[in-house]
Symmetry: C2
Subunit: 363 residues, 2 copies
């Protein structure tokens, strides 16, 4: 697979124009673009611009609704529940985290859940929103089922990511992790490369270990059985039951606490129903904020500076790689897969957008 | 290792008497006993009555302070920070979760952190306290460092457990998991049995995989290097960086948010300084509580009833095993390791407590 490199601002303009063509207003288009491209800037290709065409298809199929009106169905001083009524996940996600942040600034904590939404991009985007306001931020989402419970052979939970972000210098803490051992995106990469998967990532239709990426993806899509194992692996020997428990907790915080549906009832091909969770905490409720932030910075520095394994040169803290990738890509451009570009060009033909008016390859 | 079986009530009386002999008042003694024995009732031997003698030694060495006065150093409507001043973890832990529960009942959420504490038993006890009040409960604690960051060779994080509990029928949801791949207790069992460890649990002093339980324990205790790997394994291939991130997050919620110390600064042999985190949420802030609880029960039932792997007969949800163990042990008695009993007898000799006045073996 070849890659082409483009300027961040050019990609942004193209995405913005596309979303406006889909029917979103300027503000909405900018929000969706911002979430999408932060993923590319962070080096997480799977959730970046390569999703653009998927969103286009989702809108054409009526799964994602351009004119959805987001409804607040329940609210207290510290909480809210939003019904997205099929809106784009990024639009309702940003709104929900803004509400959580506002509440946290007043009461110390704000927790907002969302039901009937769609794919919302990287969970880290929303946790980071709070972090950039000087708060602790958390976000979770359920997704279509890909993960098999310990001792099972049926995918019941999504990749169900958890993101946590906290201010620190010189890097914030930004953990953004699926609760499955790997994401579906990684299995797709092995499939494209026609390479066998590492044993311990996926299960076949009988619930047995398999290295066959093609079969696993086929089985997941057609809900035949098998899927990806939870963080910790298959069985209990390496504590796969912990990843399974975290994934179930994510479905509780998102699907159950929003009055929506859990991963095992999401059918992305028909109507999504994805549910999200957003949490902001003003850590000033525990004392002087500067002291707390300084202590966090000191702790993360201690981790980075702790002794390296023989043969290893560096210990990262979470968020460090993303911030470094961000700086690099803003300066040097974003890599776009050739196939992704082809898909975007096809889509733009339909929309009467001339891609060459927007993108010039960086050589 | 042989096991002897005793009645729960008899063990409770013996523990109560012992803690009173240590210098605690009746209420304090009952609290410590309750936390300790819930662990045995749940089938988690490592955190149960076998800790009794360790606590005795901790008190004799002045690490755990019988007359510590717990101080509230910061408080808001939704939060508090307690300084335990070296108190027993169970005493300050119960008090802190009671405060979190009270706050949650008023505002919807209560978050309490604790510094300068000691080992507090199973995290699940505190999460369950909230669950039994009809709330969502969470608890975390840092512990002396045993876990090595990804690409490191120095233990920097504790077992750093996360417990989450939520009401449901017929079993509550009760996830109680260390963020290391396994706990130190499991490594100790392999050491006692003189069996090689599964590769992928522990690292030697160079940060390389090892199966030598004896060396690993020696290295941890003497802070020579190596230790247990995070949930997800060594390196990034099976996402060990996720367990590492969760462990770091636990140190943030406990050590940083309490103004205390992080795992890498805890020296259990000298002065503990352990820090805890307690969180209660009245999930009524998201709508009708009965509906939410029913949806949670339905979801957990769907997980349990999902298709089993070929060769597997049962899928558990978290808390199910513990509740079943609890019922069994209340009815049939608690198994106590012969060595543990010997230690208790030695301790009781010093304290002038006649063990045979309390315990009669169940045959």
């Amino acid at each position: 697979m070849g890659y082409l490199k483009y300027n961040y601002k050019d990609l942004k303009n193209l995405c913005n124009t596309s979303f406006k063509e889909f029917g979103f207003n300027s503000e909405e288009s900018e929000t969706i673009t911002e979430v999408l491209l932060l993923s590319d800037l962070f080096g997480i290709e799977s959730h970046g611009v390569q999703r653009l065409v998927r969103y286009y298809n989702g809108i054409k199929n009526g799964i994602m609704k351009v004119d959805a009106e987001i409804e607040t169905v329940h609210e207290t001083l510290v909480s809210a529940v939003l019904d997205a009524h099929g809106a784009m996940g990024q639009i309702v996600g940003k709104k929900a985290m803004e509400m959580a942040i506002e509440k946290a600034k007043v009461t110390g904590m704000g927790m907002v859940t969302v039901r009937n939404s769609n794919h919302y991009g990287i969970a880290g985007y929303y946790a980071r929103m709070a972090e950039q306001e000087g708060l602790l931020g958390m976000s979770m989402t359920n997704t279509e089922a890909i993960t098999v419970p310990t001792f099972g052979r049926e995918a019941m939970m999504g990749s169900n990511p958890i993101a946590i972000s906290m201010p620190a210098e010189p890097y914030p803490f930004l953990l953004d992790m699926s609760t499955s051992v790997v994401t579906r995106g990684k299995v797709e990469i092995y499939n494209k490369r026609k390479e066998p998967l590492p044993i311990g990532w996926t299960l076949d239709g009988d619930g047995k270990d398999t290295d066959n990426a093609k079969d696993v993806l086929y089985n997941i899509i057609n809900k035949i059985g098998g899927g990806i194992v939870p963080l910790g692996g298959s069985g209990e020997g390496f504590s796969g039951h912990k990843g399974y428990g975290l994934a179930a907790a994510v479905d509780m915080f998102t699907g159950i606490f929003s009055g929506g549906i859990t991963s095992n009832h999401i059918n992305g091909g028909k109507a999504s129903g994805t549910c999200h969770f957003f949490f902001a905490v003003d850590y000033g409720i525990f004392g002087d904020k500067d002291t707390i932030k300084n202590n966090m910075s000191k702790y993360l520095t201690e981790l980075r500076e702790s002794k390296k394994a023989v043969g290893a040169t560096r210990i990262y803290t979470h968020g460090e790689k993303e911030i470094e990738a961000y700086k690099d890509r803003i300066e040097n451009g974003i890599l776009v897969n050739e196939n992704t570009l082809k898909e975007i060009e096809d889509m733009c033909n339909y929309l009467d957008i001339k891609v060459s008016d927007y993108l010039t390859e960086i050589k």
